[in-house]
């Protein structure tokens, strides 16, 4: 049987995954807010 993964590595991998997940979500939300800001500014400039 192939070597079983060490439990600590799996746990560390899990925590890394969790952290990357949160960071990804937050950056995605922030990025999209910025996009919305740019769209709004353009819309205001065009329609005012």
């Amino acid at each position: 049987m192939a070597d079983m993964p060490r439990p600590e590595a799996t746990r560390r991998q899990q925590i890394t995954d969790y952290a990357l997940g949160i960071i990804h979500e937050s950056l995605w939300i922030l990025g999209w807010c910025l996009l919305a800001y740019v769209m709004a500014v353009v819309a205001i400039a065009v329609f005012r």
Binding site: G21, S26, W28, A40
Partner: protein
């Protein structure tokens, strides 16, 4: 023929409802400790009374309702809505004993608003309320966002098949993990991690803004709970307008948008599937409708020259609309400003954003992104079928964690619940209009209650008509539990009376 429930059915329902209420009592220990820490003795006694009352109910029903029978689907739904009913009645005791409530009905409204993560409130003189009571108000939204049943599942239920049925009865049906207890714990892991990080960010920002450390972190915790649960309660009567800071607003927006996402999506992002956020039908639907509503309101308010510059305009419009669409209910404008500054178009578009709501299996409310996605795809499918040769087979699919083909049954389920929401919105709007409120304001307020948003345009007041308070309370409850479990509770009652 309606089959009358037998004694065994009453016992099962009673036993599990009792367990959930014991959980509520245990939860109240947190505000009790808070009151003691701040030497708020009268408030501490209020909580001792409330905790004891919960324990009397919980242990009493468990002692009376002895059974080994497991829950069936109908039991699960009845337990979910029944325990919400008793949790509200008992959870209202601290509010009532504080002296800040006009009546017991007002406290029921407030506590239902808390559990359903709505955020409308009738509590008076909020700016002089004890820290213990404020802790309870915000904890209600955090617990309600998770689901009172999810809390009980984590700590008090064994992992039976019946447990899943109560979980579904509370309006969630995502299985993050094979076992429902594991699913509940995964939901907790996500929420508690965000709690730690969110409170830290908000507390630090609060201190940078001139708040003392205790207030900064205490309010940071409360604002986090209000944001993540998409509840909308805040510690001061000024809501998040108190902070007057774009940094604080940005942190709140990130937290409440994240809080409005499906827990299954969080779990996917946390377990390596990081493309899920851009492929998921709910997030795509949400971002499209939020962008469209923001641009429409921006256009009208820019023409009306309400705000002095583009940045102010965007800050106000985007914050309010993101708050509405995620069904959070935080605001950085006064309630009446929706009427006096935003006008009818701003009001109506915000109402639409609230009506659509957040993602399924999240802390948010409304019709929900997945149904918007399913219905849109169904429309596309029907159009394609019409223009294609008769013999061709047209199928659409959508992506939600995994790819799913659109079946007629799926579309029908989505449409039925959507129609139920729209009917509820309509009934409440008309009742509000009958009391003399302008229709667009009455619609705004009812949609805010039923989608569990909590923004107000000024109708919700301690002195508003009692019937309207009852209508909004029931609307919040029906909206949060997505109708089925409340109907099951009513059906159970009918069966007891009229069954054979």
């Amino acid at each position: 023929m309606i089959v009358r429930p037998r004694k065994e059915d009453h016992l099962v329902i009673g036993k599990y409802t009792g367990k959930v209420i014991v959980g509520v009592g245990l939860l109240m220990c947190i505000p009790l400790v808070t009151s003691i820490a701040f030497a708020e003795w009268d408030t501490a006694v209020d909580f001792i009374i409330a905790i004891s009352a919960c324990m009397v109910f919980g242990f009493g029903t468990q002692a009376l309702c002895r059974t080994h029978k497991d829950l069936s689907w109908s039991h699960g739904l009845v337990v979910a809505s029944g325990s919400w009913f008793f949790a509200t009645a008992l959870g209202a005791l601290p509010h009532f004993l504080s002296g800040h409530a006009g009546s017991y009905l007002d406290t029921l409204f407030d506590v239902m608003s808390g559990y359903t993560t709505t955020g409308l409130y009738l509590l008076q003189d909020l700016d002089h309320v004890a820290n213990g009571l404020n802790m309870w108000r915000h904890l209600l939204t955090y617990a309600g966002g998770q689901g009172i049943v999810v809390i009980a599942l984590t700590f008090l239920f064994k992992g039976t098949a019946g447990a899943y049925k109560v979980y579904v009865g509370e309006g969630k049906d995502e299985r993050l993990l094979p076992n429902v207890i594991q699913t509940a714990r995964a939901i907790w892991l996500v929420s508690l991690t965000w709690l730690g990080l969110g409170t830290l960010f908000l507390g630090v920002r609060g201190m940078m803004l001139g708040q003392g450390p205790v207030r900064a972190f205490l309010q940071g915790l409360w604002v986090f709970m209000g944001a993540w649960s998409t509840g909308g309660f805040a510690p001061q009567s000024y809501n998040t307008f108190w902070f007057h800071d774009i940094g604080y607003e940005v942190i709140c927006v990130v937290i409440f948008i994240a809080g409005s996402f499906n827990f299954a999506m969080h779990w996917a992002m946390w377990t390596g599937k990081r493309e899920e956020i851009r492929k998921n039908v709910e997030t795509i639907s949400f971002f499209i409708t939020l962008t469209v509503t923001t641009l429409v309101v921006t256009f009208f308010l820019a023409q009306a020259n309400i705000y002095p510059d583009a940045m102010s305009l965007f800050r106000k419009v985007f914050y309010q609309l993101a708050s509405a669409h995620t069904t959070t209910g935080f605001s950085t404008i006064y309630s009446r400003s929706f009427v006096t500054q935003w006008g009818p178009v701003g009001l109506i578009v915000t109402t639409i954003a609230m009506a659509i709501g957040a993602s399924a299996c999240s802390t948010g409310g409304g019709i929900k992104g997945i149904r918007m996605g399913v219905i849109s795809k169904a429309l596309v499918q029907d159009v394609r079928r019409m223009i294609s040769p008769e013999s061709s087979v047209i199928m659409e699919k959508y992506h939600h964690i995994k790819d799913t083909w659109l079946s007629d049954g799926l579309v029908r389920g989505a449409m039925t619940v959507t129609i139920a929401y729209l009917t509820l919105y309509g009934i409440g709007a008309i009742i509000g209009a009958m009391y003399g409120y302008p229709l667009e304001q009455a619609a705004f307020e009812m949609v805010s209650a039923c989608s569990n948003t909590g923004l107000s345009c000024g109708i919700t007041q301690p002195f508003m008509p009692d019937l309207l308070k009852v209508v909004y309370t029931l609307g919040m409850w029906l909206g949060r539990l997505e109708f089925m479990s409340v109907f099951a509770l009513i059906g159970y009652g009918v069966a007891v009376v009229r069954g054979k």
